[in-house]
Symmetry: C2
Subunit: 305 residues, 2 copies
């Protein structure tokens, strides 16, 4: 079979998704399984999805070109190590080395949000400056300029969730107050709207429609926080496009419309913002997108171990 197929995978707290990309960057196979946590669990999960892709494509494992992995936590790309991926039960894991030993393939790691930004820019065919706003359990952004990711000096580029600029000044586990993540994230919903249970994003709009005052407030804070991220990214990097991704993107058009209306409201009060067409830059990542897995495969080109 085609030895140039690249594997990309997105290892999340709940599920792991993997894709095989051909030379042109087209997805030719997809596999999804539940993630098993802990060091051995994560390595085993990765091995299993690779085996599934091998079966689907008829390409022997050793014949794939490379493996790119998008994973939460602080990523040491140089050494192929994952640090502090707590929702995967990982304090430290030399994932690239272990997976390279198991498969014989070159393996590259990337932060999952950066991988999603690379993949979304590719799949949506976006040029120029692209900011990807991940509204997940946490809040962070990925940045891509002319197809190349911006990772920064310590790999924290895009960690805007811990900018302490929200007027509510809620305490954040990071030690600061008013971090944007304390209003615009799944963890914020869970903490400040406990009626939503363990997966508040899934029940939020139904509760809003039922007239639940607390739910309405939680949704408003989420929308305002996300809009403030778009403004922040726009005045910092002036992106051509801001993509809304992450699990909370399943709130769909009401989330997108809310963000746009908030931005338009601010623009109406500020001639400066009014010139910038902030609301016109915002787009929603497709619900069924494999952006992070695709981006991880593409990023594996640049660094192999």
């Amino acid at each position: 079979m085609n030895g140039a197929l690249r594997i990309g995978m997105d290892i999340g707290g709940t599920k792991t998704e993997a894709v095989a990309l051909d030379r042109d960057g087209t997805v030719v196979a997809v596999a999804r399984i539940a993630t098993v946590g802990g060091p051995d669990g994560v390595v085993g999960t990765a091995e299993r999805v690779i085996a599934m892709l091998s079966e689907q494509t008829g390409c022997a494992v050793a014949e794939f070109a490379s493996v790119g992995v998008g994973i939460p936590g602080r990523i040491d790309r140089e050494h192929g190590e994952v640090h502090n991926a707590y929702n995967l039960g990982l304090a430290w894991l030399p994932l690239a080395g272990r997976l390279a030993d198991a498969t014989g393939l070159p393996v590259a790691l990337d932060n999952d949000v950066t991988a999603a930004a690379i993949g979304a820019a590719h799949l949506m065919r976006l040029d120029g400056v692209v900011a990807y706003l991940n509204l997940g359990t946490g809040l962070a952004a990925g940045l891509v300029i002319d197809g190349a990711p911006v990772r920064g000096a310590q790999g924290v580029a895009g960690e805007i969730g811990h900018l302490p600029v929200d007027p509510l000044e809620r305490p954040c586990p990071c030690g600061q107050r008013g971090c944007i993540e304390t209003v615009a994230s799944g963890s914020a919903l869970k903490r400040y709207w406990p009626a939503g249970g363990d997966h508040p994003g899934r029940v939020l709009l139904a509760a809003v429609d039922a007239g639940d005052v607390e739910a309405v407030h939680a949704f408003e804070q989420l929308v305002r926080g996300a809009a403030s991220c778009v403004r922040l990214l726009s005045l910092t990097l002036d992106p051509h496009t801001v993509i809304i991704g992450g699990g909370l993107r399943f709130l769909g058009s009401r989330l997108l419309d809310g963000i746009r209306e908030t931005l338009d409201g601010w623009a109406a009060q500020s001639p400066f913002l009014g010139m910038l067409d902030l609301s016109g830059r915002v787009e929603l990542l497709a619900a069924d997108s494999s952006a992070a897995a695709v981006g991880a495969a593409l990023a594996s080109e640049g660094r192999r171990r």
Copy 2:
């Protein structure tokens, strides 16, 4: 003489500085004159410094390779036009075309802060991600990644001065409240410390030393605002270096020390910030630096008109 000499100039509200760079990017001549405002005044000022460089280098005007101009305002690089440079008395000026007609040379325009960022990264030999924080009459940042400037979709990349995130929520002429520029800029000093007169930056430290309570407060707000910019740039772009430039850099080591101490204080309260060594990334642009003129010359390579 050497036909490869490139001219760069920084047209400011008070003075215009121009340099001639050789092929290696070394400054071989410098000229400085007072800026004359208005469309004809600005074009004439630019022509005069070019003539001065011609005389200094013995290179006929027509033999220079290019002219790069760094200038305040909103810059349309495509058409070589300056918009809204109010402190130069310019609503609109097709500066590149007029200067090209006058000199026969290719002319490129850039925002003055972007030009300074390019020049500072070059002069300080900084690789990776470089953020240049301009503390001038206004507040803005310039961004350079691996030597290339980030200009963005509408040329407003780095306009962080109009992020409305300051807890004092002072009104800003842009129509928002709490813009960082309302605390960390020359215009903020002038407005909120009127005792400082027309050039408050020049007398601020003397007033602080004399125990002027209002001056102490103004200096504290300036330092806190500048530190919040460093944090903002760091969590957004994760720069290897944040350079403090602009006219207020003449406050010198007390400004730099104040910014570093503020960042260290925040880091002491947040393990997350503590990991990032924010204070270690901050450097001050040399007082005698021609960063903006040098950067304008370098940027003229990429675009000529």
